[in-house]
């Protein structure tokens, strides 16, 4: 019996199909060649810059140590070492340049799973405003130092979002977010769960959207030091009369 597959029409059309596939392929290759995907370009730019930033931060930390050592020597020779060092310590502490450890709480904020189809997926995500609310509640509760995924919150720290990434101190953070705070554990705990904005995350929103959140009291928690730059460009010290 003749092979039923040997139909001339079929052969020809399949050949045409192959040709069409190749045509489509040619077009796409040409398009890609003329215009390299911009998104991946930008992504690699971000990664390059972050690598630069990391090495700059390390350099800065090293230099700060060197300078401190030199200053100490100079101050010793001038006989004012103790008061000078102390002033520096006070300033560094107030600015957030020193790591802090002690009793406190650790708050974990993770996105919820089990998105109910048809509902707004944003409701199941942790947003920058949620993190900001928790950080704020911690300060209201008397926190002496707070960091988010290792980024210390200082007087100039913005917590914002770019698309679906959270940026703290211009660093991209990914969930789940761990917010550590040093202070009176009980006061901090209550402040967070009772906070009108942050508290919802741990009650209503947790049950409703399955958010993976928790607040844990700890006897010892560590908060990182601020690694970024401090450079007042516009602010200067005021003369006494300006006050």
């Amino acid at each position: 019996m003749k092979n039923p597959l040997r139909q001339p029409a079929l052969v020809v059309v399949i050949g045409i199909l192959g040709f069409m596939l190749a045509m489509a392929f040619n077009t796409t290759t040409r398009l890609q060649g003329a215009q390299p995907e911009r998104a991946s370009d930008l992504a690699s730019v971000v990664q390059d810059m972050e690598a630069q930033r990391d090495s700059l931060e390390i350099r800065l930390a090293g230099l700060r140590d060197e300078v401190t050592a030199l200053e100490e020597i100079a101050a010793t020779e001038q006989g004012i070492r103790d008061s000078f060092t102390q002033q520096i310590e006070v300033a560094r502490l107030a600015a957030g340049l020193t790591g802090v450890k002690g009793p406190g709480v650790s708050v974990v904020l993770g996105d919820g799973s089990d998105v109910i189809p048809g509902t707004d997926p944003n409701l199941y995500l942790i947003h920058d405003s949620d993190i900001a609310a928790v950080v704020n509640a911690l300060f209201v509760g008397g926190a002496e130092a707070v960091d988010v995924n290792g980024e210390r919150v200082v007087a100039t720290t913005p917590i914002r979002c770019a698309g679906s990434t959270v940026l703290v101190n211009a660093r991209r953070l990914g969930g789940p977010y761990t917010v550590n705070a040093v202070g009176d554990s009980d006061a901090l705990y209550e402040s967070v769960v009772d906070d009108p904005a942050a508290g919802l995350l741990f009650e209503a929103y947790r049950t409703q959207f399955g958010l993976d959140v928790s607040v844990t009291r700890l006897d010892e928690v560590e908060v990182s030091a601020y690694r970024g730059s401090f450079r007042p460009t516009y602010a200067v010290q005021a003369e006494e009369e300006d006050v």
Partner: protein, 114 residues
């Protein structure tokens, strides 16, 4: 069977060698057309295995599939529902896999594979 594969390979090679492309705006049309063609061809293979193949039905089906596909993309473009072509993609895609399943079963039967 081998003849068909050869035909496909030949078509692809010819197309790659001549490096003919389509204007970028037409890419969606070509894509959907390819899918429609795939549907026709798998349908054709299936029909030939089932021994219900007719030259006329096949070529006619092939042409109308392509026309319909092109039409859907065009309408989608015009009425602002640019995703309309997805309907064609889904429909043709389902048929391709459907036909493929039957072809597979028939081929196995012919070879005595179970």
């Amino acid at each position: 069977m081998g003849v068909l594969v050869l035909a496909l390979a030949l078509g692809v090679t010819l197309g790659l060698l001549t490096d003919i492309g389509v204007p970028p705006e037409m890419l969606t049309y070509v894509g959907v057309a390819v899918l429609a063609a795939l549907d026709s061809c798998t349908g054709g293979v299936r029909a030939s295995l089932e021994e219900t193949f007719t030259d006329k039905a096949f070529v006619f089906g092939f042409l109308t599939n392509m026309l319909m596909a092109g039409f859907i993309v065009f309408v989608g473009d015009r009425i602002g529902v640019s995703e309309l072509y997805l309907a064609a993609v889904v429909a043709f895609g389902v048929r391709v896999f459907d036909n493929l399943g039957v072809v597979r079963a028939l081929l196995f039967k012919r070879r005595g594979w179970e």
